[in-house]
Symmetry: C2
Amino acid sequence: MTTSQAATIVEVGPRDGFQSIAQQIPTARKIDFIQRLYDCGIRRVEATAFVSETAVPQLADAAEVMAAAEALPGMDAQVLVPNLRHAERALAAGSKHLAFVLSASEKHNRSNVRRAPFESVEEYARIVDLLPQGTALRLNVATAFDCPYDGAMEPDTTFALLDALIDIKPDAEICPCDTTGRVTPDRVGALLSQAIRRYPQVKSWAYHGHDTYGLGLANVLAAWQAGVRTIDAAFAGLGGCPFAPGATGNVSTEDVVWMFEAMNVSTGIDIAALVPVACDGASIPGGVAGGRVRDALNPAKPCEDATS
Amino acid sequence: MTTSQAATIVEVGPRDGFQSIAQQIPTARKIDFIQRLYDCGIRRVEATAFVSETAVPQLADAAEVMAAAEALPGMDAQVLVPNLRHAERALAAGSKHLAFVLSASEKHNRSNVRRAPFESVEEYARIVDLLPQGTALRLNVATAFDCPYDGAMEPDTTFALLDALIDIKPDAEICPCDTTGRVTPDRVGALLSQAIRRYPQVKSWAYHGHDTYGLGLANVLAAWQAGVRTIDAAFAGLGGCPFAPGATGNVSTEDVVWMFEAMNVSTGIDIAALVPVACDGASIPGGVAGGRVRDALNPAKPCEDATS
């Protein structure tokens, strides 16, 4: 590998991490974390989600957090939306980058948004119709590999959904997600390689994975080797479910950055600056932290972990 | 991948894990752990080391632990030895499988055994001359990829040492070790692929890695993809250094078994039976545990971790 290679990290801690924390994080603290992550070199963030405030009270401050993230020069701040109504809210609040999510698994999609996956495809088309000129779009395909209810997904099921989705907006960034953390690198590599060949019209692929079974980095690497250059990660490995002890979160940003930089793949992120931010992230009350690099680079004083 | 593939796990917790724990573990408890690991299907173990009792008082009971491991039907129990004198002790105690260790890095080898690496090659030859018919030999090449003092090792340095070592006993099992946990999967794959091509006379290759930076499984997978079929791992991910907080241990046996089985690579090990043993391993006073699968498969009641 040469030093000219680069990976883009999308920091999803402020959305996927924070939403898993039951105790309310003050809005100012969320904004401060985003500022500090920016100061480490992070230039893409999933800043929040526009979702039901009843279902996810933690993200009721979405508009304020999004505005603060967008105010950072050069920061690309995407916000998650599960349906048309919340997409409208996000656009009304000034979003320049929506991330729509649906699930490849019928059971998981019904559980999340009470729709069949192909009904969510129609919803996606309605959102695309609504987008003002210049609004960027990420498409997150949850349970693309594995479903918490049904186990391993047939690739054909995922491809049937992508067949319908991709031509609605070929310049959307497509992100197959390992929602459960149970996929293995062979399957990540196989599905993503096949997808990249099957949909040459897609210009940007991303990968989103969890580290529940310790395969977080191995799966990220498999995605990279398949040709994916945009990787989701959460500082401090946040993202575990507070209602399911032992469930663990997103692959940690500091681990992903450390791996890529050690392989001479540039991320633009200063790992030394990131470690103290990740340590503070790991100490958010109610959070479930993960990842190894934070403690490995901080041996004299291991981070306090909210799970300990 | 087909289900006919198989990986052999060498459980190194009783040596590499226990030696890192300052508080003495009762001999009966060590033997009980080995019995329970055997009951999960483990058939290779690095049961202990014959080393200076002054330097490593934890392993002063080597002969007794080794005898108990060897008494288990079908268990292949290797014991680590750093020099001729301790090899003689191990053989006198009845060892049927020695594991000699030397370091590719001059500084690390001098720090460990006060010899240059090529002086350890001569010591290795003397041990080979001493072996009774039928005694198996593993050769562990520590710092084959990375040295705690000098950083990344030049592959040529490691190959120069292997050139000298391998023809002394071509039927020894060769195990390049990532001692620091800092190697990345690209370098694991490159060195092992090259070694397998360079030394066709070697029948068995093994890989030994640590998970300090979260790359444990990714590196094991890279070794597997390079053609290595024997993997060292420690239950509960034991192996951190009690004198260096934040340093973390071997890749955990339960994580490796979970990964391989999920990829349809048979290990012969019952993961459901292994998890409670790993939980007990993680609770050894003074131990530093690692790995994710133990808690992921035990969500209702996360393991108590001695590091918490």
